[in-house]
């Protein structure tokens, strides 16, 4: 993968999925990033998996990131892999913190199940169409999205037997 190859992919996505889908490309330190609009993430990943002349058939990782103070703040990365060409492509989309919604890719790549749940858990991004959109690592009754940059660090009470009933939301 080089910068030219990335531009060719972006061009093919524009032609096949839609002109406004690709919002930018970035080739930095050997890592190719394709910026796409949030509502068409699923279409782009589906196109890259099935119809592109150089298919990207595997999704290795989904991760969320908070770009505070940049707007829109949240980013979701899809690390695509082609095992045949031993090459990687990163599809990235950006959403704001107010009611962030992205279509799910679980039906295309079942591996995204846990990973999208983790992004929801940590950043509050709702993956529309995900069969089981619940918290995965934090407790079910937890409030807030801890990996956002404006979420304070520390101050979490440590739960012991003696202080558990004194903590908020105990048996409410």
């Amino acid at each position: 993968m080089d910068a030219t190859g990335l531009e060719l992919i972006a061009q093919r996505v524009r032609e096949s999925v839609g002109d406004e889908v690709v919002t930018g490309t970035l080739f930095y330190r050997g890592r190719a990033t394709l910026d796409v609009a949030p509502q068409s993430v699923r279409d782009v990943v589906a196109y890259l998996r099935d119809d592109d002349e150089e298919p990207w058939e595997r999704l290795m990782s989904v991760h969320g990131v908070d770009y505070l103070p940049a707007e829109p703040r949240l980013g979701i990365h899809y690390e695509l892999l082609s095992m045949e060409r031993a090459d990687r492509l990163n599809v990235r989309t950006r959403v704001g913190v107010e009611d962030p919604r992205v279509p799910t890719v679980v039906d295309l790549h079942p591996t995204a199940d846990f990973q999208e749940r983790e992004v929801f858990d940590m950043f509050g991004v709702v993956f529309e169409g995900h069969p089981d959109m619940r918290r995965i690592l934090m407790p079910e009754d937890y409030e807030g999205y801890p990996q956002r940059r404006d979420f304070p660090m520390g101050g979490e009470p440590v739960i012991y037997t003696y202080n558990e009933p004194k903590l908020p939301r105990w048996y409410d």
């Binding site: 330190r29 890592r31 990782s61 990131v65 846990f114 990973q115 660090m153």
Partner: protein, 426 residues
């Protein structure tokens, strides 16, 4: 109820007679036909989070039909400690001890993934000797991790001797880590730009002794397990998942290679000088639990070969980059050089700054693709560190592996999946 069903109490013929009937045949009584109508309903039971067979605090909500597993829902998060969040409050070089504690059996791999991600953002070259030392320690760590896996996996199946043998031999590898890095666990040996120290005198001799010992020890494990009727019947033909389903679920590492798919990042996308080493990628044939066992055993042998080659061809030169903006100056320079003192002071108090950008680096850990994503915002602390932990992703294959198998085989599947809950929950 048919007459063929064996009585559950009393003597079951002679020992020879019992052994002549294959294990699967004897267990036929648990199929639904034999159980009759009263067992047709589903039963949901909870396994874990505090159960020795779940390898940590993994909770498995299991739906049973008789003794057959129909569905499994892994529930995780019991050891979630927010390491990724803590990393955002640490300088880059102080993040390394944090990430090492994620997957606590393969700490060298976590450190390498993070260091390589930061090095790619800094555009920093790693000297050849440092790369060789890294490979040396990575492969020793892979052996140690697989040894602990075989120790606990065999324990789950009831082979308790293997637990002692595996832990005994892993201690030899930990002795080596202690010698080079000062710690047995979480050594913080890898640094951004190289490794923290050169290997001490005597390390090579100890390592060669370890390698020679391990070749024989692996033969001993095989003679203990590979001809054991119980081991073979518990592992052969259980937990098969086709390669295509595993790939869709994102499973990598020995689990994928056991199905015959030779995907190994060390070969496919070499990093840290792996292209200079001669080793082969062991693959299985059908992808059952037995293949997973054999693939990991063979991987230990290949790792020993790499360790030998790394010792033989260890290049001379620096063990860490000479870029003083990133790596600490040598201790002896501090007494004579003003610049060294300033660099030391700046690096220890403020740390080094990384230009803005993001990076995703994937390496082959003992459990599969270990990816590290780092977002740098130009300050001395990372804005986001994310680990794509193979245990976390591979755990999604557990329902596929265990479905329509006996509950006892389900335990074997968990053992052969080799999830490290510290890596799953982070």
């Amino acid at each position: 109820m048919t007459d063929e069903r064996k009585p559950t109490t009393g003597r079951v013929g002679t020992m020879t007679e019992a052994l002549e009937v294959p294990y699967r045949e004897r267990e036929r009584s648990v199929t639904m036909e034999a159980l009759g109508e009263e067992h047709e309903e589903l039963l949901t039971i909870n396994i874990g989070p505090h159960h020795p067979a779940t390898h940590g605090v993994l909770r498995l909500l299991t739906t049973l039909e008789g003794e057959i597993v129909r569905d499994v829902k892994p529930i995780i998060g019991y050891v979630h400690t927010g390491i990724e969040k803590s990393c955002e409050d640490q300088q880059y070089w102080k993040v390394i001890p944090f990430v090492e504690r994620m997957d606590y059996l393969s700490y060298y791999f976590n450190a390498l993934a993070f260091c390589m991600a930061v090095e790619s953002l800094l555009d920093e070259e790693v000297p050849p000797r440092a790369q060789w030392l890294r490979v040396l320690h990575l492969e020793l760590n892979r052996i140690a991790s697989h040894l602990f896996w075989i120790a606990t996996a065999a324990l789950d199946i009831g082979a308790i001797t293997m637990l002692w043998w595996g832990c005994r031999d892993r201690d030899l590898a930990l002795d080596l880590f202690e010698m080079s890095g000062g710690q047995r666990f979480h050594t913080r040996y890898f640094q951004v730009g190289g490794v923290v120290e050169d290997i001490p005198p005597g390390f090579e001799e100890m390592t060669r002794k370890f390698v020679a010992t391990m070749y024989t020890r692996i033969e001993q494990y095989l003679s203990l397990l590979d001809r054991n009727e119980i081991w073979l019947q518990r592992t052969k033909g259980t937990g098969n998942v086709p390669a295509e389903s595993l790939l869709e679920l994102g499973v990598t590492g020995p689990l994928l290679r056991a199905t015959g798919h030779p995907w190994d990042l060390r070969k496919a996308m070499p990093y840290s000088g792996y292209e200079n080493f001669d080793f082969s990628v062991p693959v299985g044939t059908v992808g059952d639990n037995y293949d997973r066992f054999r693939v990991r055993i063979e991987e230990m042998r290949q790792s020993l070969r790499i360790v030998e080659q790394a010792l033989d061809g260890l290049p001379e030169g620096a063990y860490i980059t000479d870029n003083r903006k990133v790596a600490l100056p040598p201790r002896h320079e501090l007494a004579t050089s003003m610049e060294a003192l300033i660099h030391h002071f700046k690096l220890v108090t403020e740390g080094f700054r990384v230009p803005p950008g993001e990076s995703y680096i994937a390496i082959e850990s003992p459990r599969g693709e270990l990816g590290c994503y780092v977002l740098a915002d130009g300050s001395a602390k990372p804005a986001r560190v994310h680990m794509r932990d193979p245990s976390f992703v591979n755990l999604q294959a557990l329902p596929e592996m265990a479905r329509d198998h006996l509950l006892a085989d389900f335990i074997t599947c968990v053992a052969m999946l080799d999830p490290i809950l510290g890596g799953v929950d982070r």
